[in-house]
Symmetry: C2
Subunit: 446 residues, 2 copies
């Protein structure tokens, strides 16, 4: 993309309404614009990051064998009356009346609807196991929406639901989700720690939240420092293997890690003192096993092959897709702006032309742009007629991980400059080599 043809409304001033760094940077980098309280438009740069996160989520869900679909945003109140949650949910549920005076609501989650789909179409244990998921906008009418997309009212979530014949099968689905979530967050450049959690209005006994450590996190967290050394990495896993998934769960929950909601001071005290950590975290996902809570209430049963109709065991599993954009920035920025991990960056690299209008510099930039796009890469070429300082500041603010700087002086020696946003280090090299290097970085990250 050529910046002269793009829509990137960066702000010079820091918006006063933004209390946390991700909100400030998202506004300054022209990623979002508030439409009303807690409701945002995703401007082009922000939308690209959102789509990249969706892409990673879809990719890892497919790997785990989960099946994508899409449920609508508006739901009928009747379904929620069946589960008893219509009255229980409280004022965060946005209740709507349509022109026929039917009670509707903007879905804050989809347990009822997916259970209804299941009971309408599935009747036999032979169709199990089954995990369906979607990525859809949700609404929670927060009293005090704040922190930008981190605590918005209209937010994008991946929510998945497993249906299994037995509790053991459902716990395998739970473990499978834990594994796939670890992979998902790592591909976004995040370390998200599974912590034992409270189930809240979803219900159920088994639940883990995934928390990203960040000073601005809304939760206080307590953990054993050893847990931050665990990486899923690029190990291969067979998602059908109960043993392999169970082993990952055990490994990643073997160290103490809890939020204030479930914190146990006595257990925490038993950790060697030099490993005790108290910090803050941002919740970016949660997995639940809740057994037959919804299937019993709503009559979602299957024949078990022995002549009985039994309610299915279920769980639900969520990833906060829009919230992750903020969480990644909270975890990865400096005083100049955002630093995108390669997995989610809106453009693979920036090209800065130090002397727009100089025939040689323009030609070199055009050639770089063509070579990169021919390799399937997506560069942002700052072809505006602006000072170098302003171009660098914009690139630093929007946080592309790599920048190629092209100027007449370097070109005389046949070189351009490749700069890492993270380290700030620059290296001179021929343009073809810069293209090669960037291509290698992203193939390693694919």
């Amino acid at each position: 993309m050529r910046l002269s043809r793009y829509f990137l409304p960066v702000l010079k001033e820091t918006p006063s309404e933004a209390q946390i760094v991700s909100h400030r940077l998202m506004l300054r980098a022209g990623m979002i614009k508030q439409a009303s309280a807690g409701i945002y438009s995703w401007l082009p740069l922000g939308f690209k990051v959102l789509r990249n996160i969706e892409r990673i989520v879809h990719g890892e869900q497919a790997r785990a064998g989960h099946i994508p679909m899409l449920m609508p945003t508006l739901q009928s109140a009747d379904l929620w009356r069946e589960s008893g949650r219509y009255d229980a949910y409280g004022p965060e549920m946005l209740r709507i009346r349509d022109r026929q005076d039917r009670d509707m609501l903007y879905g804050p989650t989809n347990e009822e609807m997916i259970t209804d789909i299941f009971r309408s179409h599935v009747g036999s244990y032979k169709d199990l196991p089954l995990t369906l998921y979607h990525i859809q906008w949700k609404f929670r009418d927060e009293m005090r929406p704040r922190f930008g997309v981190m605590r918005g009212r209209e937010f994008l979530m991946k929510d998945g639901y497993n249906f299994d014949l037995t509790k053991a099968d459902a716990l395998h689905a739970y473990n499978r989700h834990l594994v796939s979530y670890l992979r998902t967050y790592e591909r976004m450049g995040l370390q998200a720690i599974p912590m034992r959690a409270d189930s809240g209005p979803i219900g159920g006994d088994d639940t883990h939240e995934f928390l990203v450590l960040a000073e601005t996190g809304e939760s206080e967290v307590f953990y054993d420092a050893e847990i931050t050394e665990l990486k899923f990495g690029d190990r291969e896993i067979d998602y059908d293997s109960v043993e392999q998934c169970q082993a990952v769960l055990e490994e990643f929950t073997s160290r103490y890690a809890r939020t204030d909601e479930t914190h146990d001071a006595e257990m925490f005290a038993k950790i060697p003192e030099d490993r005790q950590r108290v910090a803050r975290g941002i919740e970016v996902g949660q997995i639940f096993y809740f057994g037959t809570k919804y299937s019993e209430a709503m009559g979602a049963t299957v024949s078990d092959g022995e002549g009985n109709k039994v309610p299915v065991h279920m769980g639900s599993h969520g990833i906060g897709v829009s919230r992750l954009v903020g969480a990644i920035i909270e975890a990865s920025h400096d005083d100049k702006g955002i630093i995108w991990p390669e997995g989610v960056t809106p453009f693979h690299c920036g090209i800065v032309n130090l002397k727009q209008g100089d025939a040689e510099a323009d030609a070199a930039c055009d050639a770089l742009y063509s070579s990169l796009t021919a390799l399937g890469l997506d560069p942002l070429y700052d072809d505006r007629n602006e000072r170098a300082g302003g171009k660098f500041a914009t690139m630093d603010l929007i946080g592309l991980p790599w920048r190629i700087t092209v100027g007449p002086r370097g070109l005389k020696n046949g070189v351009v400059e490749l700069t890492s946003r993270r380290t700030g280090e620059s290296e001179e090299m021929p343009p073809e080599e810069a293209v090669q290097r960037i291509s290698q970085i992203y193939s390693a990250n694919a």
Copy 2:
């Protein structure tokens, strides 16, 4: 995807509530499930088609230089009060009150919101031309939702908005959209005819609807038979060229083609009688030029470089993404089921194993599956333990354009059968050749 692990709840009976063939077939093929009146869940097969349509729309928008973003579903009533449409819109607008008693609405379209974004960030003619678009769920509270996704209440639409300094520039944007829409529909296997239309509540003088001919269409259409011979095909076009885009508009609007709303019996009568056609059509898109209607009302001005602040010229341009799923089926089916055009098919081909459990047949199917997926293709392998007749009926119903049939008898001679869903013709060939043929078909369609 192996069918044994998929969620494809096909129905044996024809659902009685469905009045038109696309609705019946979408229900029978397990593509959708009604959630409430006019609101649907997209089951996995339907969701795949929806995503394919989105992918084509995004691809063609990128080619035309239009920039993707995403606006929220809920909007503040205040914005609509500025344009005067809050009171004018009528009962199809779903009005909502949040917990703070603020008036909100579920967006039926986004002229106000995009104009607000524009006026907040753009102040100079130098930032023009600019075309922003999004693909987002909309809501229109239809009194009588019907025909499945063809006339739903919650529906997915691509809507794009151009901002230009002059009327001439905005008319170029209009023409650019017309060209890109012709390409978009053809890639979906559709012929959509641009017809002069009424502007309705959007406003403006220049507007064309795109109509797909189908017996079940809601509009009566009148046209010169010659127009159906026009194809955009694979011609190259420079979207920046005013002349080239204008020439396409002239070519595709050179023959009489109107809906009943704008029909002119006198003009129609002048067409040679053997070319006069009266038929029915489904509207799948519409483009508008409406000048300064919103920019004046909402103060969206730019400096024109000569010291004046002038309101920008705008247009809006929509494609009915979810409706297209139904429209494609209306245009492409037979008495056995759907016939997907290659561009939007949910799976590239089906693999039918005539004797599941036979070691050789299973191995041949597995090998086919691996070869196809290694080439980036997405086959649906019916690995269920069912009769051949049932497997064929399912494949015919869900409409994959190509089927590979594998059985012990053919394998003895080293062949499988490749069948075209459209023609019904089958050909025997070695498995490798079938893979090659399918790969070639889809590279030609990429």
